[in-house]
C-alpha cells in the first residue's frame, strides 16, 4: 500500500510534522468517506464484499485456531480461507444466539444487553428475540443505497417486510393464510418441513449460482446467511431429528422446547458421539464453503472481493456435561466463534488478532470497505483500521448476553451474571485446559470481578435491564418526595439540599 505517514504525537512535537499541516485544500472534498481520507486512498474501484454467516460454528472446530476440538473435522476449505485472512481469535458475538447476533450483524448496533426487547408474535418470548426495529440502521440497505448491487440470501423469516427487498430465499417461506408477516408463527412451519436441506449448504450453493449474475454487476455485496430455523431456538439438530443414537440418552420429546434451560445429559461416550455428529456437520459446511470459494476464484473475483466469514454463535458440546445453548455455561469455547476477514489484497493474511471483535463490528467494516459513511448509531469498530497498520480503539473485555445472562471477560477470565440479580460467577480460563475437564468452581478475585463487572454494566449503558414476561422493564421509582413545586421551580427539598451545600449545576 502507499506509504503513509502516521505521525505520532511525539514526532510531531519534535517538528517532524510541521509540513504536514500546510493544507492543500483540494484534498478536503474526499474526507467525508467513512474513515479513510481520500488523499491516502488509491483511486480505485470499490471492492466486492461477501459476508458468509455460518450457523453455530465453534471457533475450535477450525484447525487454524489455536486449540482444536478433539475429534474435530478435517476442514481444508476453512483452513485455506483462514490462511488468507486475518483471524480474530477472541471473537465473541455481541448477543447470543441466532436472532440477536444477526441483528448486530446487520444493524451494527449492539443487541447486548437486550434492553430493547419486546416480545414479538410468532417468536419465543426470550430476551433479545425480536425483529430489527424500524429506527435501526440496516447495513445492506445502506450498501444498496450507495449503488452497490446487494443480495442477501437467507431463510431467516424475521428478515421480511418492505425494508428487506434485497433478501433472497433458498426456499419458499410458509405463510399461513390471513396472517401478516408479523403475526405468523415464524418457526413452527419450517420445523415440520419433511425434507429440509442443510441450511449452510443450501445458502452457499445459492451463492455459487449467484456469482455469475453478480459478476456482471460489480461492485456487489453478497450476504450468505445460513439461518437454521430449528437451531435458532432449539437443541442441536442431532437431538431433535434423531440422527444417531443421541436421542436415546437424552430421551427428549420431539417437540421439547428447551431453550431456556441448557440440557444436562450424562451418558458414557455421549460427548464423543455428539462431537462426531457435530464434526460431520462441520465437514458439510466446509465442503459447501469450498465450492463457493472455488467458484469465486473461477469467476476471477478472488482478488477484488472482501470475504468475511463469521459464525453467529457457538454451541455447548458436553462441556461439564452440558449441551446446546450456552446460557450461563462457564466455558469460553461455548462463546467463541470464528471471524475471518480476507482482504482483497491479502493484507495480514494468516495473522491472528486477539482483539475482542464482535458481530457489531462487521457492518462498520463492510461500509468502510465500500466507502459509505457509517451512521453514528452503529457502535462497532472499523476492522480495516488494522489493514492500514493503525490501531483499533481499546476494548478491554468482551461483553455478550444470552437470555437474561450476561457474559464478559478477557483472555484470562470469564464472568457470568444474570441481569435480574446481582450475582456473578467468575471463572479463570487456562489456555492449556482440556475442554472436558475445566475448573468449574468459581474463583474469588474481587478486584478482577469488580473490574469486569463494572465494564459489563458500563457497556450496557450504566445499568443491566430487568426483564418482564414480554419486555425489559422500568423499575418502580422508590418513594420519594416530589422535588418540584407545581409552578416548576424548586420546592423545600431542593432548597434544603442547597443549604447543605450541594453544588448546583451551571
Amino acid at each position: 500500500m502507499s506509504a503513509r505517514r502516521s505521525l505520532t504525537r511525539r514526532a510531531l512535537l519534535r517538528g517532524g510534522g510541521g509540513a504536514a499541516g500546510v493544507a492543500a485544500l483540494g484534498g478536503l472534498s474526499g474526507l467525508a468517506g467513512t474513515a479513510m481520507a481520500a488523499s491516502e486512498r488509491d483511486p480505485r474501484e470499490r471492492p466486492n464484499v461477501v459476508l458468509i454467516t455460518a450457523d453455530r460454528l465453534r471457533a475450535d472446530a477450525l484447525k487454524s485456531y489455536d486449540d482444536v476440538l478433539p475429534n474435530s473435522a478435517h476442514t481444508p476449505s476453512l483452513d485455506a480461507l483462514a490462511d488468507d485472512s486475518l483471524r480474530f481469535r477472541c471473537f465473541v458475538p455481541d448477543g447470543l444466539p441466532a436472532i440477536p447476533a444477526r441483528r448486530a450483524l446487520l444493524t451494527g448496533m449492539r443487541s447486548y444487553p437486550f434492553r430493547d426487547w419486546r416480545a414479538t408474535a410468532g417468536v419465543p418470548a426470550i430476551p433479545g428475540w425480536h425483529k430489527i426495529w424500524d429506527f435501526q440502521p440496516l447495513m445492506p440497505e445502506l450498501v444498496k443505497a450507495s449503488g452497490v448491487e446487494t443480495v442477501y440470501v437467507t431463510d431467516n423469516p424475521l428478515l421480511s417486510g418492505p425494508r428487506f427487498d434485497f433478501v433472497r430465499r433458498t426456499q419458499t417461506l410458509p405463510r399461513s393464510a390471513g396472517h401478516t408477516s408479523t403475526e405468523r408463527s415464524y418457526f413452527q412451519p419450517l420445523r415440520r418441513a419433511p425434507l429440509r436441506r442443510e441450511p449452510t449448504t443450501a445458502v452457499l450453493d445459492e451463492g455459487v449460482k449467484l456469482i455469475d449474475e453478480l459478476k456482471r454487476k460489480q461492485p456487489f455485496f453478497l450476504g450468505l446467511d445460513a439461518f437454521d430455523p430449528v437451531d435458532a431456538f432449539e437443541l442441536p439438530r442431532q437431538y431433535v431429528l434423531g440422527e444417531g443414537p443421541v436421542t436415546l440418552y437424552s430421551s427428549l420429546e420431539p417437540d421439547y422446547f428447551s431453550y431456556q434451560e441448557t440440557v444436562k445429559v450424562h451418558g458414557d461416550g455421549l460427548a464423543d458421539t455428539v462431537k462426531d455428529l457435530y464434526a460431520k456437520e462441520v465437514r458439510r459446511v466446509d465442503d459447501a464453503l469450498g465450492r463457493f470459494l472455488h467458484k469465486l476464484d473461477e469467476a476471477g473475483l478472488g482478488h477484488n472481493t472482501v470475504v468475511i466469514f463469521v459464525s453467529e454463535g457457538s454451541i455447548g458440546l458436553g462441556e461439564q456435561g452440558t449441551f446446546g445453548h450456552p446460557a450461563g455455561m462457564w466455558h469460553r469455547r461455548v462463546y467463541q466463534a470464528p471471524l475471518l476477514v480476507r482482504d482483497p489484497r491479502r493484507r495480514w493474511a494468516g495473522e491472528t488478532s486477539s482483539w475482542f471483535a464482535s458481530t457489531h463490528d462487521v457492518p462498520t467494516t463492510i461500509l468502510s470497505y465500500l466507502d459509505v459513511v457509517a451512521p453514528g448509531k452503529m457502535a462497532g469498530e472499523d476492522l480495516t483500521t488494522l489493514f492500514d497498520d493503525d490501531d483499533l480503539p481499546g476494548r478491554l473485555y468482551f461483553t455478550s448476553g444470552i437470555d437474561a445472562h450476561v457474559m464478559a471477560g478477557d483472555r484470562e477470565w470469564l464472568l457470568i451474571g444474570r441481569s435480574d440479580e446481582d450475582q456473578w460467577r467468575l471463572y479463570h480460563l487456562d489456555d492449556t485446559d482440556k475442554p472436558d475437564d475445566v475448573e468449574d468452581k468459581t474463583v474469588t478475585a474481587p478486584t478482577v470481578l469488580q473490574s469486569i463487572r463494572e465494564f459489563a454494566i458500563w457497556a450496557a449503558g450504566g445499568t443491566l435491564p430487568e426483564f418482564g414476561h414480554a419486555s425489559a422493564l422500568r423499575p418502580n421509582k422508590p418513594d420519594e418526595k416530589t422535588t418540584v413545586a407545581s409552578d416548576g421551580t424548586l420546592n423545600q427539598d431542593e432548597q434544603d439540599a442547597q443549604r447543605l451545600g450541594v453544588a448546583q449545576g451551571g
Binding site: 499541516g21 478536503l28 459513511v373 435491564p465
Partner: protein
C-alpha cells in the same frame, strides 16, 4: 521519521495490544504508542463554545435580538447554520461530556455521583472507558489545545481530559464558581454586593456566590480584557500563535460567559443613556446581575417586575454582545495568522437560559422550553462550502467529536454515536434524524420540526407544544394530541435503548 517506541505490528496484533494501549498510555506512556491514521492534508479545527447562549438572542437566528452579535452573524454567513440544534444532554457538564467523548449523554443511565460535580442527575465525570476526542486526535498526531474558564472543566474531575492536551490553559476567573475547585479565599464584604443583590435573594446561597464573584473582580479586573470571556479568547489567541507552528491543530475555546452573573464591561451596558434606567435599578439602584436563586426562581418569588425583567434581559444581551466582540477578536487573530483558509470554525452553545418566559428566570430542570434547549450551532468550512446556508438537520453536541475527527481524516471510535456532519459539505445528507431527543438532567425532551414534548422522568407529566403556532411554547396541547405524545415517548424509549432509566435524586440511577 522520529517515532515513539512501539511494538512491531505483528506483536501488536498477536497480543491484542490495541486493547492494552488504552491502559498503557495513561499509565506509563512509553511502552506502546497507539497509531491512528490521519489525512495528510488535514485542516485545523477551532471549536468555540459559549455557555448559556440562547439561539434567539443571536442575530443570525433572530434579527430582532437586543444583543449585538455581529461576529457570530458573520460566522453564520460564511458557514452553515443549523436551524434547530438541541444538545443531547444538558446542562453544562452533561453537554461537555457529550462534546468531548462523542457519546450520547442522554438518558444519563451511566450517571454516577462525581463530587465535587453537582449531585444532580447526569453530572458524571468522563468515565474511564469512554473515548476522548482530544486523546484520539493526539494519537493521530494532531496538536490539541483547550482554553476554558469553565469551572467544571478546570476542576478535579477533568484531569484525565486535560492530560490528553498538548496545550491546556485553564482560567480561574469565574469567581462565583470557584467553590467547585479551590475555594476563593478573598470574598468581597457584604456591603460591596448590595448593589447587585435582589432583596429577595438577600438570605440565600447567591450571597456567597456574589461575594466571591465581586471579590475576584475587585482584585483582578483592571479593564475589559480581564473579564472572563476576554481572558478565554485572549488565551485562545495566544494558543493560536503557538499552534501556528504545530499544524494541524485542534483548539477548543470554551467560554463560560455569557453565563450569569450578567456583568458585562460597562461599555456594553447602556443603562445610563437615554433614561434607560429600568425597574429596580431606577427605584433601588440595584443592578440585578444574578437575578435568581440557582438554578431557577419564579419571577414572583424574586419580585421581578416587568421593567426589572427588561433590565435583566438587557444585561444578558450585553454579556452576550461583549462575548461576541471577543469571539470576533479571536477570529481576527485566526485571519491575521493566515490560518483562516485552512481552519474549520465550529461554534455551538450548550444550552440557553429562561429570562422571564413561563414566569421563570434561570434554568429550571423540569422546564427546559425552547429558550433553554434551542442553541446556536454553526460550522464554517475552510473552503467556504455551504457558506451562508441554513440547514434543517437536527445537529447536536454529540456530533461534534465525530465531525471533527472526520475533518482530520481520523476514524472515529465506534462508541462515538454522533453523525459525521462533514458529509453535508460534500452535498450529501447524514443519516436521517427525524426527531431530536435530549434531556435536561432528568427531564426528557423530544421533538421534530413541528412538535416538542417535555416530560418528567416517569412520563406522568408530558407537555406538548406545537411550535409553528406557538413558538414560545406557552400553550400545552398534550391533552388534545395523545397520539403525538405517545409517538414521541416511543421515540425517546427507542433512543434510550429500550427503556428510560429511573433516578433517585442525590443517589444515582435506580434502574431501567
Amino acid at each position: 521519521m522520529a517515532r515513539g517506541p512501539r511494538l512491531t505490528r505483528r506483536r501488536a496484533l498477536q497480543t491484542g495490544a490495541a486493547g492494552a494501549a488504552a491502559l498503557g498510555l495513561s499509565a506509563c506512556g512509553d511502552e506502546y504508542q497507539t497509531t491512528i491514521g490521519k489525512a495528510r492534508d488535514a485542516p485545523n479545527v477551532l471549536l468555540i463554545i459559549t455557555d448559556s447562549t440562547r439561539a434567539d438572542y443571536v442575530g443570525a437566528y433572530n434579527p430582532q435580538t437586543r444583543a449585538r452579535t455581529a461576529n457570530l452573524d458573520a460566522l453564520a454567513k460564511s458557514g452553515t447554520l443549523f436551524d434547530y440544534s438541541v444538545s443531547g444532554a444538558m446542562p453544562t457538564g452533561l453537554t461537555r461530556r457529550e462534546i468531548l467523548t462523542g457519546m450520547r449523554g442522554f438518558p444519563c443511565r451511566d450517571w454516577v455521583l462525581s463530587p465535587p460535580l453537582p449531585a444532580e442527575v447526569g453530572w458524571t465525570q468522563i468515565l474511564p472507558h469512554q473515548p476522548l476526542l482530544t486523546e484520539v486526535l493526539g494519537q493521530a498526531g494532531v496538536t490539541t489545545a483547550y482554553v476554558t474558564d469553565n469551572p467544571f472543566l478546570i476542576g478535579p474531575r477533568y484531569i484525565d481530559f486535560r492530560r490528553t492536551l498538548d496545550i491546556a490553559r485553564p482560567d480561574f476567573s469565574q469567581g462565583a464558581y470557584r467553590a467547585l475547585n479551590t475555594p476563593f479565599r478573598r470574598p468581597a464584604p457584604r456591603s460591596a454586593i448590595e448593589k447587585y443583590l435582589l432583596p429577595a435573594l438577600s438570605n440565600t446561597l447567591e450571597v456567597d456566590r456574589l461575594e466571591s464573584h465581586v471579590g475576584w473582580a475587585s482584585l483582578y479586573r483592571v479593564g475589559e480584557r480581564n473579564y472572563s470571556a476576554a481572558r478565554v479568547m485572549r488565551g485562545g489567541m495566544d494558543a493560536l500563535e503557538e499552534l501556528k507552528a504545530k499544524q494541524p491543530f485542534f483548539l477548543g475555546v470554551d467560554s463560560f460567559d455569557p453565563h450569569e452573573p450578567f456583568d458585562a464591561p460597562p461599555v456594553y451596558v447602556n443603562i445610563e443613556e437615554g433614561g434607560k434606567r429600568l425597574g429596580i435599578q431606577k427605584t433601588r439602584g440595584i443592578l440585578p446581575i444574578q437575578p435568581f436563586l440557582t438554578p431557577a426562581s419564579t419571577l414572583r418569588s424574586v419580585d421581578i417586575d416587568p421593567e426589572t425583567l427588561e433590565l435583566v434581559r438587557d444585561l444578558y444581551a450585553a454579556e452576550l454582545s461583549y462575548t461576541d466582540v471577543w469571539i470576533g477578536k479571536l477570529l481576527n487573530k485566526l485571519d491575521d495568522l493566515g490560518l483562516a483558509d485552512n481552519t474549520v470554525v465550529y461554534y455551538l452553545s450548550d444550552h440557553g437560559i429562561t429570562l422571564g418566559e413561563h414566569g421563570i428566570i434561570g434554568k429550571s430542570t423540569p422546564r427546559p422550553y425552547p429558550e433553554i434547549h434551542h442553541v446556536p450551532y454553526m460550522i464554517r468550512d475552510p473552503s467556504k462550502r455551504l457558506a451562508g446556508t441554513r440547514n434543517e438537520y437536527f445537529a447536536s453536541s454529540y456530533d461534534v467529536a465525530r465531525t471533527i475527527l472526520s475533518y482530520f481524516g481520523v476514524r472515529a471510535p465506534g462508541l462515538m454515536s454522533g453523525e459525521d456532519l462533514t458529509v453535508l459539505f460534500d452535498g450529501k445528507q447524514p443519516t436521517a434524524r427525524p426527531y431530536y431527543t435530549a434531556c435536561y438532567q432528568e427531564t426528557w425532551i423530544a421533538g421534530d420540526r413541528e412538535w416538542v414534548m417535555i416530560s418528567n422522568t416517569e412520563g406522568s407529566r408530558r407537555e406538548l407544544y406545537h411550535l409553528p403556532d406557538d413558538p414560545d411554547a406557552n400553550n400545552d396541547v398534550a391533552a388534545d394530541h395523545t397520539d403525538v405524545t405517545d409517538k414521541l415517548w416511543a421515540v425517546l424509549t427507542d433512543e434510550a435503548g429500550g427503556t428510560l432509566p429511573e433516578f433517585k435524586k442525590h443517589i444515582g440511577v435506580v434502574g431501567g
